[in-house]
């Protein structure tokens, strides 16, 4: 890895400005999430996405603050708002892949946060 310079960093800034939101599933993996079972959920999601060849990124992230609802899984896919599912277990993680990612449905009774529609502005 060559060392970053001032100009490289500028390139990152430009990239950030033009940053298009990719499809991603984020799993909250701070101490609070892990204590609630996020590692298992992360593994299940990772396996499922690999086995089905879905090409969606599974990303670890920190704690968003809603510790009472851990494990938290945020799903950002095209044409749907960014949705944060809470109290996710193994079975529900599979439902997220099956119904949200593949079928484009939103799942009842597990949503703890919704960000404005993703993909509409672009």
């Amino acid at each position: 890895m060559p060392k970053l310079t001032k100009d490289n960093l500028e390139a990152y800034a430009k990239k950030a400005a033009a940053h298009k939101v990719k499809d991603v599933i984020r799993v909250g993996m701070s101490t609070c999430g892990i204590a609630a079972g996020a590692e298992e959920v992360y593994e299940v999601l990772k396996n499922e996405v690999r086995q089905r060849n879905l090409g969606i990124e599974i990303q670890k992230c920190g704690c968003s603050g809603k510790c009472y609802a851990e494990p938290l899984v945020e799903v950002i896919v095209k044409d749907l708002p960014a949705v944060v599912y809470g109290k996710v277990d193994k079975t529900f993680a599979l439902a997220i892949v099956d119904r949200h990612v593949i079928n484009g449905e939103l799942l009842n009774d597990h949503i703890f946060d919704v960000q404005e529609a993703n993909g509409d502005e672009k």
Binding site: Y12, A16, R26, C61, G65, P81, G104, I111, V114
Partner: protein, 576 residues
């Protein structure tokens, strides 16, 4: 995508009535194929009945009745117009600066931080501003230390900057020890690079070449993520020699705290890094003049440092617009205790406690009423419910006898005993007092003894006066912050809840039912149905009798565990 969010979980729509009603209305209007309806648990609206939010328009309606549904579906959903008289003004009260990346970026991947504009603040400081201009920017921002003291950051850095020395140091204080507080852990685990960037800026501005992360050993995940961040930064040339091609060089080492609360105090922390016993020393000289190995040292809390990059990317002026007149920016609180949504909240300074508890925290956890809020951990105090509308900032909390502290916020309800609470914190301070100075070592033990005898109903009224006297002495004569603030929980509970102390002493009663020695369990024979449930659940066989003649509790044997009280289905056990 068009989405309708329905929040019906306040218990008002158990049968899915509203859900079906909305679906029906959508079908009637012939638009059910264009809209997705989903039942959500939480959209940041609490205690306002059934709520609907329509995306992407963003219209939110609360306190809905079934009659409202057809109108909303026709006008707001089909025609896309807002119904002004019904629209809700509920807004998200959180402002995320410190937690801006937590839950968004991958903390183990430096690219993830760089792609969200990471290290741009450092770039500005290195190449665009003169150091004096950078300090000026910090002054404009009004950022004050978030570790508890609230000292203006620019002054601290300027002292260290102006002190001449062959070497200077920067320390990040990640020795978060307050019971119930974990903001720093979350920031270190969720966004370590922003803290690192803050340290680099500090290093450049004060002229230091070496930094230390002091993190408590109980945070293994935080440690491994910070280590990864340091390694990655090294690889990318953000640490080491000639950072980003400038003539600034900086390196960082991680030191682990072995779990002593006193090491969160800056002079004790410095002693600990030096390899000495974690004893505090008198100030002045302050560390910014004479700190680590006798050299000028800037020591800042995790949260403070995480604020720094944003001040440079968005500007000090932008930062100073957030918050209250004396306290700028935001504060992260670890909201815990008897609250529905326990977790981290980041709010602008000047928000009221009521807003934090009811609009963000979702209200009380159980059916009990709120009694008080504890802030600042063992160094802080309680704030009674009469003061919930006070704007939260450094000065106001101090006036109320508590402190902002590092950001623990524990919500206390009527089922909690204030004497018990004071005892808990005093116990903690006795354990954690390092023992160097007598006022703290002896004073805290003395206070604990008084509290203990009050909780056992063995104290006299004069003891409260004695307790206050010792508290004042410990506050005044202790060497470091630990001792100087240790009496705060006692003093503040006495300030607002002296009556409760007196009840323990005079009436030998604990109204919350927490002080076991004052409790007596008896079976109310008129209510008892002789089901024998209590008899079977008593762990020490203190309940005797049979299904025909009824049961009695032998108070000699009773250990006051409360099992019988909990299991009785007929409220036939009295506690008091």
């Amino acid at each position: 995508m068009k989405v309708i969010l329905l929040k019906d979980t306040d218990g008002k729509d158990r049968e899915g009535l509203f859900h079906d009603k909305v679906l029906d209305a959508l079908q009637k209007e012939g638009i059910s194929d264009k809209w997705k309806l989903v039942r959500v648990v939480d959209i940041g609206i609490y205690n306002r009945g059934v709520a609907l939010k329509i995306l992407p328009a963003g219209f939110t309606y609360t306190d809905l009745t079934e009659e409202d549904i057809p109108g909303i579906v026709r006008k707001s959903i089909k025609e896309g117009k807002e119904i002004k008289e019904k629209i809700s003004s509920v807004k998200d009260k959180q402002v995320k600066i410190v937690l801006r990346n937590c839950g968004v970026i991958d903390p183990e991947n430096i690219e993830s931080y760089l792609e969200t504009g990471g290290y741009q603040g450092l770039k500005k400081v290195l190449f665009e501003y003169k150091p004096e201009e950078s300090i000026e920017e910090l002054k404009i921002s009004g950022l004050r230390g978030r570790g508890g003291g609230g000292f203006p950051l620019w002054m601290k850095w300027n002292f260290a900057r102006k002190t001449r020395s062959d070497e200077k140091y920067v320390i990040c204080n990640g020795d978060e020890g307050d019971p119930g507080a974990y903001m720093d852990r979350s920031v270190l685990e969720g966004d370590p690079h922003s803290v690192l960037e803050g340290m680099l800026v500090a290093g450049y501005l004060v002229g230091a070449q070496k930094g230390y992360f002091y993190i408590r050993a109980e945070y293994p995940l935080a440690i491994s993520r910070v280590q990864k961040a340091v390694d990655d930064a090294q690889e990318y040339g953000l640490l080491g020699n000639n950072i980003l091609g400038s003539d600034f060089s900086f390196s960082i080492e991680i030191r682990l705290g072995a779990g002593a609360f006193v090491c969160g105090e800056e002079t004790a922390l410095i002693a600990s890094i030096e390899g000495k016993r974690g004893y505090p020393s008198p100030r002045p000289p302050y560390p910014s003049v004479k700190g680590l190995w006798g050299r000028p040292t800037v020591i800042n809390n995790v949260e403070t440092l995480a604020n720094v990059p944003v001040i440079f990317t968005k500007g000090g002026k932008w930062f100073s617009k957030i918050g209250s007149p004396t306290s700028k920016g935001t504060k992260v609180f670890a909201l815990t205790g008897k609250i529905k949504n326990s977790g981290l909240v980041e709010v602008p300074m000047g928000i009221t406690l009521r807003e934090i508890i009811y609009d963000i925290g979702g209200g009380m956890l159980n059916s009990y009423d709120i009694k008080a809020v504890q802030t600042g951990g063992p160094s802080g105090g309680v704030i009674s419910k009469e003061h919930l509308d006070t704007p939260v900032d450094y000065e106001n909390l101090q006036k109320l006898g508590s402190i902002m502290g590092s950001g623990g916020m524990i919500v206390i309800d009527e089922s909690d005993c204030m004497v018990d609470l004071a005892k808990f914190y005093m116990n903690f301070c006795v354990d954690e007092s390092c023992g160097k100075c007598a006022p703290c070592r002896i004073g805290t033990t003395q206070m604990l003894e008084y509290l203990d005898s009050i909780s056992k109903g063995k104290a006299s009224q004069e003891d409260i006066a004695k307790l206050k006297k010792i508290a004042a002495a410990v506050k005044k004569a202790s060497l470091c912050g630990l001792g100087q603030t240790a009496p705060n929980p006692v003093l503040s509970t006495l300030r607002y809840f002296e009556e409760e102390y007196l009840e323990h002493i005079r009436d030998k009663k604990c109204r919350a039912g927490k002080c076991k020695e004052l409790l007596e369990y008896t079976i109310i024979q008129e209510k008892c149905r002789r089901c024998s449930l209590c008899f079977r659940n008593c762990p020490v066989s203190a309940i005797s009798g049979n299904n025909k003649e009824g049961f009695v509790i032998d108070n000699e044997k009773c250990i006051k565990c409360g099992n019988c009280f909990e299991v009785c289905k007929f409220e036939a056990i009295s506690r008091g």
